[in-house]
Amino acid sequence: MALEQKYQELINAAKTSEVQNLQVREQNNVLYIDGEANSGAVKDNLWNIYNKIDPDFKGGDLVLNINVKAASGSKAKVITKESNLNIRKGPGTEQPTVGKAAHNEIVTVLNQTNEQWWLIKTNGGVEGYAYSQYLTPA
């Protein structure tokens, strides 16, 4: 319960920003917060609060897993720092690249294969898997 108090502001923010399937569990001195956000902004806000409570995420007492939902057929923006985003044949960095999407390019989400990899298609017709960390619903 002590950890829930430490991260109370974060838990409250998750509730008020309507994070779906929100789960807050404490186990062996680690707090696990899981849920699905409707936008990248909600996720970013929660991570900013996490960083404020536990500067540079050094505490090792929270595992925050907030995934952003993107419907099949919806648009997503490439949010790499500045480089191109690799599009791969399969979901994994060991998979060969089949193309690239540019920084800030808008692509179509075909499905959210898992929490790490989304199947996308570019306007240029390149279809493959991209790392979800570099995509946000547009």
């Binding site: 680690v30 696990y32 540079d56 595992v63």
Partner: protein, 110 residues
């Protein structure tokens, strides 16, 4: 002649039976309330990924961070090396979405 008398009666009874079912169903629907989404209590144990899955996931997550090394042991991910502060949230978001038991951040943040 008896059959002709009973048939309308049977129809009336069965019709009454059906309408009774229908109204009961309608009541059930009306009484169903949507549970609010703010329930956060869950007693199911936290699902932790296997070390094999974590190792694959950590390899993908750290690919774009040449100064960062990661090890996996019994569900715990330990990060060492150097990272720029503005890149740290991106890495932590990736690693913490892998369902680790714990993330030990031993990175030197620049």
């Amino acid at each position: 002649m008896k059959k002709l008398i009973y048939l309308p009666l049977a129809l009336a009874l069965s019709a009454g039976g059906f309408s009774g079912c229908k109204s009961k169903q309608a009541n059930n629907d009306a009484n169903t309330t949507t549970t609010s989404a703010d329930t956060v209590t869950n007693t199911a144990p936290v699902q932790i990924s296997s070390d094999d899955l974590l190792s694959t996931g950590v390899r993908d997550a750290t690919k774009d961070f040449p100064g960062v090394s990661a090890t996996v042991n019994n569900g715990e991910v330990t990060l060492t090396g150097n990272i720029k502060r503005d890149r740290l949230p991106t890495l932590m978001q990736s690693v913490q979405s892998l369902h680790p038991r714990k993330v030990n951040n031993n990175l030197t943040v620049e």
